[in-house]
């Protein structure tokens, strides 16, 4: 069931998704190409008694502001990109240690350093493994403006249900492109409650431990929860995988171009399909395993240097796979380019 048809940018869709998920406070700092999420949220908050915002002095303050609001039981989030995402590793790491629900929407831009503001998929490692921990974090990758809306809701839902820091990856093109979307009417049902409970028995939370054993106990529990939740968290899309001799693996907007390429190639009789991980971490390994079992070749397309490939190869370590990696760090792919690569020209 759809609610309404709109012409939206990905950044606008993210704002609507956050509101639909029940978010109440946004903290942020201007950074291209994610600034419109902050601006869009402020535009809505200025007309609402329910929504609040704070433009902070940097991304670190924004991230820790989110943690403060979350501790108080509010649904809060931030949005950033590239160098701002790097600075957010500090609060993300605290969230990972304390199992605080934290939602960050990251519109990837070219790196390293200030790089470009346009497009990239180079923040996969950062999102999943950027902190001084093992990366018990949930990472989604959106491949359309519609998904900037639906996955924003999913991110809030899962962050608060399982209490893992959660990152939604988009990119500059997705943030700035305007396209027709039909927003589904159903809403995420996010339940938040104070973590510092202010009841007679005081809550005392620490993130610093005096012995290896004390910390290890916490880490083991977090890991057990993560492994337990895995099955409920993983999401992927399979497209034309039946009988596919070549399986393309791609995420985000690259997967959208790949989908166009697959549909064109299928029409000319090429047995090819697409596996698109929607969660990059954890990864929908079982579905991909089935897809590659009879495939002759797995082609990994990404706008980064082997960041997706490393995850895929780790997850498929027990499979015999003939890989071909096509990496274009910080550059996009058009369907025509993917077709060319598939044909080996």
């Amino acid at each position: 069931m759809t609610e309404k048809k709109l012409l939206l940018t990905g950044n606008e869709a993210a704002v609507l998704g956050a509101i639909a998920a029940g978010a109440k406070i946004m903290f942020g700092y201007p950074i291209t190409p994610a600034t419109e999420i902050l601006q869009g949220w402020i535009g809505k908050a200025d007309k609402s008694d329910e929504l609040q915002y704070l433009q902070t002095e940097d991304e670190i303050a924004a991230g820790f502001g989110v943690l403060g609001a979350v501790l108080a039981g509010e649904i809060a989030f931030t949005a950033s990109a590239g160098p701002g995402h790097v600075l957010l590793q500090d609060p993300l790491s605290m969230a990972e240690n304390l199992r605080l629900p934290f939602v960050g929407i990251m519109m990837q831009r070219g790196g390293p350093s200030t790089g470009t503001v346009n497009f990239s998929q180079q923040e996969v490692n950062l999102a999943a493994f950027g902190g001084n921990g093992d990366g018990i974090r949930l990472v989604y990758s959106a491949s359309s403006v519609l998904e900037m809306y639906t996955l924003t809701q999913e991110a809030f839902q899962m962050a608060w249900r399982y209490r893992f820091p959660t990152i939604l990856l988009g990119d500059g093109y997705l943030g700035k492109m305007k396209t027709v979307v039909e927003l589904p009417a159903d809403r995420a049902d996010v339940k938040a409650e104070p973590i510092l409970k202010e009841v007679s028995e005081s809550t005392n939370i620490r993130n610093c431990y005096s012995s290896e054993a004390d910390l290890a106990e916490v880490l083991q529990k977090n890991l057990a929860d993560w492994n337990h939740a895995r099955k409920s968290l993983v999401l992927s899309e399979s497209y034309e995988l039946d009988g596919a001799e070549t399986v393309i693996v791609a995420h985000g907007l690259v997967a959208s171009a790949a989908k166009d390429a697959v549909s064109i190639l299928r029409k000319s009789g090429v047995k090819i399909g697409l596996f698109r991980p929607i969660t990059l971490h954890p990864f929908d390994t079982e579905v991909l395993k089935k897809a590659v079992a009879k495939a002759k070749k797995v082609m990994i397309f990404e706008s980064s240097l082997n960041q997706l490939a490393r995850i895929v190869k780790y997850e498929l370590a027990d499979q015999k796979v003939n890989y071909e990696e096509v990496s274009k760090p910080a550059e996009g792919f058009t369907a025509a380019e993917i077709i060319k690569a598939v044909k080996g020209k």
Binding site: P33, V117, D260
Partner: protein, 271 residues
């Protein structure tokens, strides 16, 4: 409608994104699938402005493309960014009064000239040049005229409160819709940035103006205490007018030179 890919290129601030936004809004209202993405970057204001627009009936998954069905180029400096989009199926549309035809990339299927800048300057007001182009493009793309003009109104919003501006836009749009594009004999491109430095001598003073550096900000005109500066006919690097200087009035105070952010003007006394 078969899916069509359109690239628009011009000078930043010229209204390229307005054209793309209007056409995408109108196509959306007409029930089409649309994808529009502006070029953006840290140097966005110093480089040509580019808009990718895709319109069709099928779902559009990816906003960029390699070659375009329509390439629209509206300023000379933007020519260098459009070459890659032209192939043998491309219709190349250009402002023939601002873009020299000889400099256009070769190999396009069709060339269509619209002397929009010249017409806007002579028949309407300079600012509506992009609305003339919008009119012509909506006719080429067969988008419902009334929906396109409605989108013009929504995009220009406040400016339409001024009845004179609204009328000029209406007339320019109508003109664009009905304009028979040039196909072999093209208007001479006179609205192009000047390459030559201007030296003016007289009244014991010499003035030097460098159009290649002048961005038309008007600070020199504003800071001149004796109103010796006014905008003239010559065009600067962004195709905006550069100042004319009246040396009879000029007192060689040096304000224009001290304030010019681009080092495009200087006056000195000679004995």
């Amino acid at each position: 409608m078969k899916t069509v890919k359109i690239i628009l290129a011009g000078e930043g601030g010229q209204g390229i994104q307005t054209i793309a936004k209007v056409l995408s809004d109108a196509a959306f209202k007409a029930g089409f699938q649309v994808a529009y993405i502006p070029s953006f970057g840290v140097e966005q204001r110093g480089t040509p402005s580019l808009a990718y627009l895709t319109i069709g009936e099928e779902e559009i998954r990816y906003p960029r493309f390699d070659t375009a069905d329509y390439v629209v180029v509206l300023q000379k400096r933007a020519i260098k960014v459009i070459g890659q989009f032209v192939d043998t199926n491309t219709t190349l549309i250009f402002d023939s009064s601002a873009v020299p035809q000889a400099l256009l990339p070769k190999g396009a299927a069709t060339l269509l000239g619209i002397p929009a800048t010249a017409i806007a300057n002579s028949d309407f007001i300079p600012k509506v040049f992009n609305i003339i182009v919008t009119g012509k493009l909506s006719q080429i793309l067969k988008l419902p005229k009334e929906l396109v003009f409605e989108a013009v109104g929504e995009t220009l919003g406040k400016k339409f409160k001024d009845e004179k501006i609204k009328k000029a836009n209406e007339a320019a749009f109508e003109f664009g819709c009905n304009f028979e594009a040039e196909t072999d004999k093209f208007t001479k491109a006179t609205f192009t940035p000047s390459e030559e430095n201007i030296t003016v001598k007289g009244h014991g003073k010499v003035a030097q103006i460098v159009p290649k550096r002048c961005k038309g900000c008007g600070i020199c005109v504003e800071k001149c205490p004796v109103k010796a500066l006014s905008f003239g006919e010559t065009l600067g690097v962004f195709a905006t007018p550069v100042p004319d200087i009246d040396l009879e009035r000029c007192i060689a105070c040096g304000n224009c030179y001290r304030f010019c952010p681009d080092a495009a003007i200087e006056v000195w006394k000679v004995s």
